[in-house]
Amino acid sequence: MTIHERIHSQSAAGRLSRRGFLTGAGAAAGAFSFGFSFPLPVRAVAQEAAKETVKEVNAWVVIQPDESVIIRIARAEMGQGSLTGLAQLVAEELDCDWDKVRFELVKPGENRRRERVWRDQSTGGSRAIRGSQEYVRMGGATARAMLVQAAAQQWGVPAARCSVAKGVITHQASGRSTTYGAVAAAANGIAPPTGLTLKDPKDWTIAGQPVKRLDTLDKLNGSLVYGMDISMPGMLVAIPKACPVHGGKLKSFDASAVSNMRGVKHVLRVDDETVAVVADTFWRAKTALDALPIEWDNGPNANVSSETIAAMLREGLTADTQFVGNRVGDAKAVLAGAGRVIEADYGFPYQNHAPMEVINATVRWTPERCEMWGPTQVAEAALDALAAAAELPAEACEVHVVRIGGSFGRRLTTEYVTMATRIARQVPGTPVKMMWTREEDMAQGRYHPVTQCRLRGAVDADGNLEALHMRISGQSIMAYMRPSIMTANGDPVTFQGLMPGGAEMAIGYTIPDLLIDHAMRNPHIRPGAWRGVNLNQNAVYLECFIDELAQAAKVDPLAFRRKLMANHPKHLAVLEAAAKGIGWETTKPPEGVHRGLAQVMGFGSYVAAAAEVSVKDGRLKIHRIVAATDPGYVVNPQQVEAQIAGSFVYGLSAMLYGECTVKDGRIVEENFDTYNVMRLDEMPVVEVITVPSGGFWGGVGEPTIAVAAPAVLNAVFAATGKRVRQLPLKNIDLNLS
């Protein structure tokens, strides 16, 4: 019998007795003591800081007697690589030996105890580096000054006469030298100097370099412990199930039907809408949960479907009440009197973040103390949620942060921390690892919001864009996620990439008469910040419609954009770079291959993409993408490249397949078999051009996602003559009619 035959056979189980293979701490120890050695010629595998008590130099820097440099990282690492970038910035100012750098993650309780010396720990909006670079660099510079002062005092010389290279301090005049490790303890007692000047980025030697990530090796041998991998003595596993109709309630469940099943310890009501099975292992908890009779009160949303949501949004396309995000002149009047008006309706569906690591959190609660181990993008908010659900003061709680198996905005909310704590409270003293199934993760997401957009543009006889009205109708993320930032008129975050100006999300076109407004329509499906957030759909709407207008004007899409971008040189520069890179005006694409362009500003950076695609027998192939980015400064070129290439996977997965549909009030897609994502066989070649112009700090993790879909969709039009206006593409027949 082959193994593949055995896959379908249940008869091959042995009948041997159990021996010492245990779950719990022994298991975790086993994972590490499996005789794995990894003598790669890079750095040590174990990146967690050593436990011996060495006094820090300051909050950012600890230097051990063996000269290893531990840099503290306050922002979450979920694959985006900012951990390494932040360490580079500290190390640059510190003038230490990069090969000796390790890292340690900051716990939010510790941050609070130290009066937030590490400041904001939230990690979203592509802000990890740009939001903290100045004080992080100053942390490194201050530590350097303290170390040098400590050496100078020992020698009785002026600190200004000492120099540093790779962690070695030298007093040139006397020829004396010492090391950071030798003076680190003394530096701890030095008063931190103020008024230090940060290096000019053009003098960087560690920052700005394509160094390897600090956190790689334990990802390659299985030794990295993600939240899902946490194990403790006596730990139990909880799997929750919430009412699949958001807003519905848990009416009842029959615990007696499953409480005798093997391994089952508890069947618990978690909150008004959630039940959980607590067992000794995942599989036993899941088996019992699947067998548990549950009655839901689905509530008023039980009849909502994708169709009713679409109708609700359609009404908003023409509704009178609206929130204006950008107004120049009187677009409505110009459109009313225009000879030629181009009009199109677009739509962008719900998306699940679908990170590879599903939602999880391990919590141990006692009447005196409550701790969580697990992933979060908002460590301090997670601590607050933990304390609130534990009904304990925050000082009696701690969140032990871990590196995250992908997140993309999903873990900016803390409802799962609350949930895990409510479960753990019912099992006092026992660590409980709450794990969601992929199906629960798909059903209880915080989805990319659903919107539609009606665009109307007037083009004059000379091919000039006279007026544009862009009406967005649909869901506000912030109305659900952060009502405090809503204005009296609506959600300002709706207009990402369309704002009249500013350093964050400005539109790149000057249009004589322009109106961009929003009719908020909030279905019951819970929205969230999905990597790229509102920039994603806004870029599809505007950049695809600009192409439609160019077509109507019978002007090349690049030339048409140039005319509108004279006042937006940074937007234009990246567009020109992408166009040049693909050969827009210089080389013909191969036979059957067609091109498309898009540009946008988001998260403080300017990005553009040019795509080459072909469509054969209705099948799309994306051959090549040239992406250009101006993020102001580049801290690690090879990680920026990885982020940009990865942005196309995320953005094009959404464009090709991403769609959470709603039926009977619940999300239909349950797993990757119905919520498909891009795989290696569909990956185009991505050429990354960075054109950092300096003078500002933009983000990198998100903006490029927004140009992925419109660049490809504009190329699809060039290839087929078809405008794809409702995503995803899997629902569209691309056969040439």
Binding site: Q10, G35, L217, N221, E357, G646, V649, D673, M683
Partner: protein, 154 residues
């Protein structure tokens, strides 16, 4: 009850027959390098070698495996010296969040065992694991680099 050969050691585990191999490896054997991603053999985060062949363990009941089958997990792959795929992954900084990468490495090392000199199209067709961070370009480059190294060495 099941008896398994994991990374060259025979282990006995007291589990229900329908328990997926993944959860036996993770919770009963205690090796957490092999990941849960979907539970329906779609994403490949749970990939192990079963008699040398990349196999998704999350939908494979433990009863389908006997101690005659050699199971190798990520913890066993480079136990002596790092596998050329692991070396290539380190050299090219392939991983982002890393969660899917153990499955990628298991799939890639199995591919190279069967096809030491795969073309780009072979790699694209054979490596069907999901990565949400989007490491695919470096996965492709990593498999090619490992193939080159293995060929030169061999």
């Amino acid at each position: 009850m099941a008896k398994l050969n994991v990374n060259g050691k025979v282990v006995e585990v007291d589990v229900e027959d329908d328990t997926p191999l993944l959860w036996v490896i993770r919770e009963h054997v205690g090796l957490t390098g092999t990941k849960y991603g979907c539970g329906v053999a779609q994403c490949g985060a749970c990939t192990v070698h079963l008699d040398g062949v990349a196999t998704r363990s999350c939908a494979l009941p433990v009863s389908a495996v006997t101690e005659e089958n050699r199971i190798v997990t990520i913890e066993g792959l480079g136990a002596e010296t790092p596998h050329p795929v692991q070396q290539a992954w380190a050299e090219l900084d392939v991983a982002q969040c890393g969660y899917c990468q153990v499955g990628m490495i298991m799939a890639a090392s199995s591919l190279l065992a069967q096809n030491p000199n795969p073309s780009d199209d072979d790699i694209r067709a054979e490596i069907t694991n999901i990565c949400r961070c989007g490491t695919y370009p470096r996965v492709l480059a990593g498999v090619k680099l490992a193939a080159e190294r293995m060929t030169n060495r061999g």
